[in-house]
Structure formats: structure tokens, C-alpha cells
Amino acid sequence: MATTQANDAVAPDEQKLAQLKEFIAQTRQDEHPDSFLIAVLHRAQELYGYLPVPVMDEVAEAMGIPTAHIWGVATFYHYFNLTPPGQHVISICLGTACYVRGAGQILQTLKDELKIDVGQVTEDGLFSLQPARCLGACGLAPVVMIDDKIHGDLTPKKMVQILNQYRKQAKK
């Protein structure tokens, strides 16, 4: 996938890297410093938006943990992204309440409209699509969260209209 190449090509931002290393240095004071690996990866994703390969190498160096182990952890947990997200992140709720109220149809609409699968970014980089397990808005089911905004009581038609609004905004 082209996105993997993009991942490797990014050189880690020096300032962000310094912040990350400072965070790692703090965790080294603890009795069990290696146990902070997931916390460190959370911090890295907060800073970079995803986990670039060179950053993971830096983490490996700073924590004295093999990169292979870090990859193992980063790929195990769904929360960590290994590719840069789109400009707008669409989280579709696939919790049971949404599912029985038609989330499957909404997901299909999104896939058809955006021409991507779950976990991918659109060609123009505008949207990325990720599944979510219950956004806690079961009363509004089915729901989709775009960035931090919840869109509820969706129908396939309404979903397309919402996407078009974002597209229109992006053109401005």
C-alpha cells in the first residue's frame, strides 16, 4: 500500500521528538519503566497523529526495547494508527444498538461513497474511515462521529448529505 511508503519517508519532527523523549525520561524513574511502553505510544500518537516508523525506532532506542517488540505492541492494539489519518476522521459506530438500527447500511454507504474500506484513507486525503465499538449515543442510533462531532439518526441518504457538506467546506 502506498501509505506504508509515506510512513517510512517521514522524518520525525525534532521538536515533537524532544517532547516525546522528555516523556520517556520521566517514565524511566519508575520501578517498572518498560511497562510505560503503551503510554509512550499514546503520547507519540498524540504528537504525530499516528506512529511513524522512525519515531518507533527512536522509542526503541530511548527505552532500550527492541523495535520488533514495539511493532508487536503497536499492531496488536486497534487504537494505534500506523498510517497518517485523513483530514477528517470518520468513526462509524458498529456497536450492537447501532447495528440493529441499520449501521450496516450506513457503513456500506460510506464505503461506496468514499471508495475505501475501513482503516483506509480516501485518495484526496480528506477522509479516513475507522470502526468504533459504541460511541455511547445509543439513543441516536445509528451514529457516526466525524472528528469530534456526532451525527445521529442516520439514513444512507442523510449520510451522503453530511459527507457532501464536508466536501463543500474543503473546497472553500
Binding site: 511497562s35 503503551i38 503510554a39 499514546h42 450492537t96 438500527r101 461506496d112 445509543c138 439513543g139 441518504k157
Partner: protein, 596 residues
């Protein structure tokens, strides 16, 4: 005007999602406008449970609950209620009130009448970010009682007598777990709160922490005292930012008040809590997997024994309980195990919190005494099925549980009755399913989830769930073969018996329970290629009825040009071209297109 008013705005995630945050500033503006700013105060609170009626605003005294409040309603509420003393009937949700130890102020007797809020006793009442609010409702009194009046052994005995069982789903006796951990000689010991709530469609733990984080902190401190641990860890999902923020603040405030840290309340008991974030892996709800995750590794389970109470976090004795279990502890210590035992059934004591959702009128967070029947929950608390549809099943226990049809509606909620009926209590997801859902499809939905979340360590779970999913997929696609049901049963049975952890052992449950209770639906899919709920796309055909006015909307949206017809004349669908996308069905304004 002499009365001083308190206005509570629910600040739980569901209410925020439906727009609660904009109300606070609108309220403040109106209070200023009427010069009421020193006569009325605005508070934020956690989840009241009436999530489908959000955003919720409560006006005290009187506990008038307003639902579906918009910014435009605010001037009327302030003008009528606060200036003229006339509650706005148009927006108020019922007026019957209930009062008792755990129901000081709730309104809406229909929704709350069958409920009993023990762990959620403060949710929706107090400001979760204000420790003084919690302290004023007997907060930390249980911790004080434990460290000053009781020995650790007495605390363990109290929990054991209470009959409390683990609320994470499996229902292991909590007192026994505490006893094992307390008996260990090795130190240091750890206490963990499992807040890695991963069931799709469940939000009990999040709401509990968002609404009343101090209860969990207090429960953990009592647990630490009882088993002799000095450190506690809350393992919480990174996807819950508001809950993380609130529990972090609660820990900080408790520390500042001397309720955590060295020599708590002047005793020689020292205990502190730190937060660790999960990263989205369902299997981490399993205790040994969770421990590996805290240690910074892939969250994979390991065989037990040794149990975590003997060898847990960093190889030390560890006590792990779920959020709701911890939230019960302060009440048990304060009101006594004997009182606690009066609530519930013979084998399951106390209450259970459920996230009630799906095809039910009132969706939201509820807490009912054990022994309440499923019928009472669905029809009394939940208000029944909307749109005049027919009830089909209720699903409990999420991906580890099962679907129970109508004949089980009178099953009382307790660990053992639900297990006998073929489902499980689980952590508290409860989804009501109506006639529009296909049970084979529901089973497939859950299996897709567990298959995706299987950590891959043991073969029965990794390979078995994949094979089961393949079979289910082909059945829903109309390619089912004779013998598929038996194959599913056999595979399910093997996975159940041979998997390493709870995830695998329970993964076949949704499939096995739907086969047991809805076998006819499976057979229809396989032999008649028919889906009675018309949910399986491949088994459905779309047809245009005589209601068609020939508007042409369907013809224009059809992506494959399968629809033809002259203007103002009934249209037809060419079944050979149709790809069954359903666009025409969703577009038609005249209900002229039907699924057959």
C-alpha cells in the same frame, strides 16, 4: 423572590452528544438577563440514565426533569419556572417522585420505579468533578469506617458475607477473590480496577466513572486496605476521554484531602492510585491479558492458575475487580453486608447496571435489583418496543452472551438463571431485538467481532471462530448447505471447551444460543433461501407495488439502471440487473417499493 434554585445540566457523554454543552452558556445568559445570578446556581452532573431524552436539565428544588432541551427552550424555562415559579409542563418528564435511601430525588416513577440505584446512587445527583458534593452524600465515610473501626480481615469478611459477585460478567464471588489476595504473604500487592469496557453497545462503566468517579476511588482504597496493597491502578480505555479526565481529577482531589497517599486519615494505611490507558483490545478485559497490557506488552492471556491473586502484575499478588464491583464496596461497608443481602436473589445479591439499547422506547442506563425479570426491564423500564413492532429477542452479555426469545422473558435476572436459559449476565449490555432483525445475521455480527478481537494465541479460538464465521457468512448469502447447522454446533462446542481464555470459551455463545432458540430461521436460510426479517441482502428481492406514482426517483438513483418505466406510470425492477443495494427502497417517498 426568596427561593434559591439549583439547575443541573447532565454532562454525561450521551447528553453532550445531543448538545448539552451549549445549554450551560444559554442558561447563564438568561440568569444574568433576569438578574438571577445570585439566586440560582448551575451545576453539571453525570449520567441520569435517560439517554434517549437528552439533553437533560433538572431544576431544584422539586427535581423537575426537563428532556430534549434546546437552546431555544432556555428563556421559557428561566422565565416561567425561575421567575414565576411555574414548571414548564411542555418539557417536563413526568412528575411522580420517589424517595428512599437510594432514591432521594428521582422523578418519572415509570422509568425509575423498578430500578434501584446502588452503584449509580450519585450519578445525575452530584457534580462528579466536585469532591465536596461527594463528601456531602456520605462520601469516603466507608473508607473512614474501614481504616478506623475495622481490621482488614473484617473488611474481607464483610464483602464475603454480602454475597457480592464480580460484575465484569463471570460472577466469581468477590469476597473469595479478596480472601485469596489477602492471604498472600508476598509484597508489594496491587489492586486493579478493570475499566476496559469493550462490549460493543455497552457503556455502564464509562457512565459510572463519568457520573461518580469518587465511588470507584473509595472502593479501591477499601480494597487496598483489605488485602494489604499499597498501590492501585485504573486500567481504562483510551476511547473514554471524559471518564479519564474525571477519574484523574478525583484521584488528585482525594489525594489533596488526605484520602489517598501516605497515612490515610491518620491511620498507618498508605495507598495511592495511578491511571493506565488501554489501547482498544477487547481481550484485555480478561484479567491476565489486562495485566500483560499494563506491563507494556501485547495483551494476550495466559493459562490460570496461577491466578492473579497469587501471581499477577509484575509477578506480585494482584486483586482485579470491575468498575461496578468496586462501586458496590462503599455501600456494603456503610450499610452493612446484611442489608446488602436483602437485595437480590438467593444466589445473586445486590443490583446490576445495564446499558439498555436497541429496539426499545427508553434507551439508557438502568440499575435494577437482581431478580427483576427481563419482561419488567423491556416493558416497564424500557417502555416496550417502538413503532408497534413485535418483540423477537433480548441479547445479554454482548459477544459472550446469547439471545433469549419471548418464552424466556419471565426469567429473573441473576447469574444462574441467565446461564440456565442459555445466555450470561455479562458486563451489562442489554439489546432488545425486534422482528426486523435476522437472528443469523445477529449471530454473524457478534462472531465477526470476536473473530476480529481474538488475540490469536490459541488455535481453537483463532481458527475456530474464523471457520464459524465463514459458515455463517455463506448461510446469510444464501449459499448455506445441509449440515451447516450441525457443523456450527460441533465447532462451537469444541471452541467452548478448548479455548484458553474467556473470550474464546464464550465466543460461540451467540451462535449456539440463536441455533437453540431460532433454529427455524437458520433452516429457512439454508433450505428455502429465505430471510424472514428481510435483513440478509442476498435473500431479498425488491419489487415495486401498485402504489407507484411514476415519479422516477428510484429510476434516477439506481446505480445499475435496473429500473425502467415511463413518467407517471408504474415502474419495474429488472431482477437480473438488480444488485440489491436498496437505494430505491430508501429513496421512495410513497412506500411503493417492498422487500420480498
Amino acid at each position: 423572590m426568596a427561593t434559591t434554585y439549583g439547575i443541573i445540566v447532565c454532562d454525561g457523554t450521551p447528553c453532550i452528544n445531543s448538545g448539552a454543552r451549549t445549554l450551560t452558556s444559554a442558561l447563564q445568559e438568561q440568569l444574568d438577563k433576569h438578574g438571577l445570578h445570585d439566586k440560582a446556581a448551575i451545576h453539571l452532573s453525570g449520567c441520569l440514565g435517560m439517554c434517549d431524552k437528552g439533553p437533560i436539565v433538572v431544576v431544584n428544588p422539586g427535581y423537575t426533569i426537563y428532556g430534549h432541551v434546546t437552546e431555544a427552550d432556555i428563556p421559557e424555562i428561566i422565565e416561567e419556572h425561575l421567575v414565576h415559579g411555574r414548571p414548564v409542563a411542555r418539557l417536563a418528564i413526568q412528575e411522580d417522585h420517589l424517595y428512599n435511601r437510594f432514591f432521594r430525588v428521582f422523578g418519572d416513577a415509570k422509568f425509575f420505579g423498578k430500578q434501584m440505584r446502588i452503584t449509580l446512587r450519585n450519578c445525575g445527583i452530584i457534580d462528579p468533578e466536585n469532591i465536596d458534593d461527594y463528601l456531602s452524600l456520605r462520601g469516603y465515610e466507608a473508607l473512614a469506617k474501614a481504616v478506623t473501626d475495622l481490621t482488614p480481615a473484617q473488611v474481607v469478611a464483610e464483602v464475603e458475607t454480602s454475597g457480592l459477585r464480580g460484575r465484569g460478567g463471570a460472577g466469581f464471588p468477590t469476597g473469595l477473590k479478596w480472601k485469596f489476595a489477602a492471604a498472600q504473604k508476598a509484597t508489594p500487592k496491587h489492586v486493579i480496577c478493570n475499566a476496559d469496557e469493550g462490549d460493543p453497545g455497552a457503556f455502564m462503566d464509562r457512565s459510572a466513572i463519568e457520573g461518580d468517579p469518587h465511588t470507584v476511588v473509595e472502593g479501591m482504597a477499601i480494597g487496598g486496605y483489605a488485602v494489604g496493597a499499597s498501590k492501585g491502578i485504573v486500567y481504562i480505555r483510551a476511547e473514554y476521554p471524559l471518564a479519564i479526565k474525571r477519574i484523574t481529577k478525583a484521584i488528585k482531589d482525594a489525594r489533596a484531602h488526605g484520602l489517598l497517599g501516605d497515612n490515610i486519615l491518620g491511620s498507618d494505611f498508605s495507598f495511592d492510585i495511578e491511571i493506565r490507558l488501554g489501547a482498544g483490545a477487547f481481550v484485555c478485559g480478561e484479567e491476565t491479558a489486562l495485566i500483560h497490557s499494563i506491563e507494556g506488552a501485547r495483551g494476550m492471556p495466559r493459562p490460570r492458575p496461577p491466578y492473579p491473586s497469587v501471581k499477577g502484575l509484575f509477578g506480585q499478588p494482584t486483586l482485579i475487580n470491575n468498575v461496578e464491583t468496586w462501586a458496590n464496596i462503599p455501600v456494603i461497608i456503610l450499610d452493612g453486608a446484611n442489608w446488602f443481602r436483602t437485595v437480590g436473589t438467593e444466589t445473586s445479591k445486590g443490583t446490576k447496571v445495564f446499558a439498555l439499547a436497541g429496539k426499545v422506547v427508553n434507551t439508557g442506563l438502568i440499575e435494577v435489583p437482581m431478580g427483576t425479570t427481563l419482561r419488567e426491564i423491556v416493558y416497564d423500564v424500557g417502555g416496550g418496543i417502538p413503532d408497534g413492532k413485535k418483540f423477537k429477542a433480548v441479547q445479554t452479555g454482548g459477544p459472550s452472551g446469547g439471545c433469549l426469545p419471548e418464552e424466556y422473558l419471565d426469567t429473573p435476572i441473576d447469574y444462574d438463571s441467565l446461564a440456565r436459559a442459555g445466555s450470561i449476565m455479562g458486563s451489562g449490555g442489554m439489546i432488545v431485538i425486534d422482528e426486523d432483525s435476522c437472528m443469523v445475521d445477529i449471530a454473524k455480527f457478534f462472531l465477526e467481532f470476536t473473530q476480529n478481537e481474538s488475540c490469536g494465541k490459541c488455535t481453537p479460538c483463532r481458527e475456530g471462530t474464523k471457520r464459524m464465521l465463514e459458515i455463517l457468512t455463506r448461510i446469510t448469502e444464501g449459499k448455506g448447505q445441509a449440515g451447516d447447522i450441525e457443523k456450527l454446533e460441533r465447532l462451537g462446542d469444541t471452541i467452548r471447551k478448548a479455548s484458553l481464555c474467556g473470550l474464546g470459551q464464550s465466543a460461540p455463545n451467540p451462535v449456539l444460543s440463536t441455533i437453540k432458540n431460532f433454529r427455524a430461521e437458520y433452516e429457512e436460510h439454508i433450505h428455502e433461501k429465505r430471510c424472514r426479517a428481510r435483513a440478509c441482502t442476498n435473500l431479498v428481492t425488491y419489487q415495486i407495488t401498485e402504489k407507484c406514482v411514476g415519479c422516477g426517483a428510484c429510476r434516477r438513483v439506481c446505480p445499475v439502471g435496473a429500473i425502467t418505466g415511463a413518467a407517471k406510470k408504474p415502474h419495474v425492477i429488472d431482477q437480473d440487473k438488480c444488485v440489491k443495494c436498496g437505494m430505491c427502497f430508501n429513496t421512495c417517498k410513497f412506500d411503493a417499493i417492498v422487500k420480498v
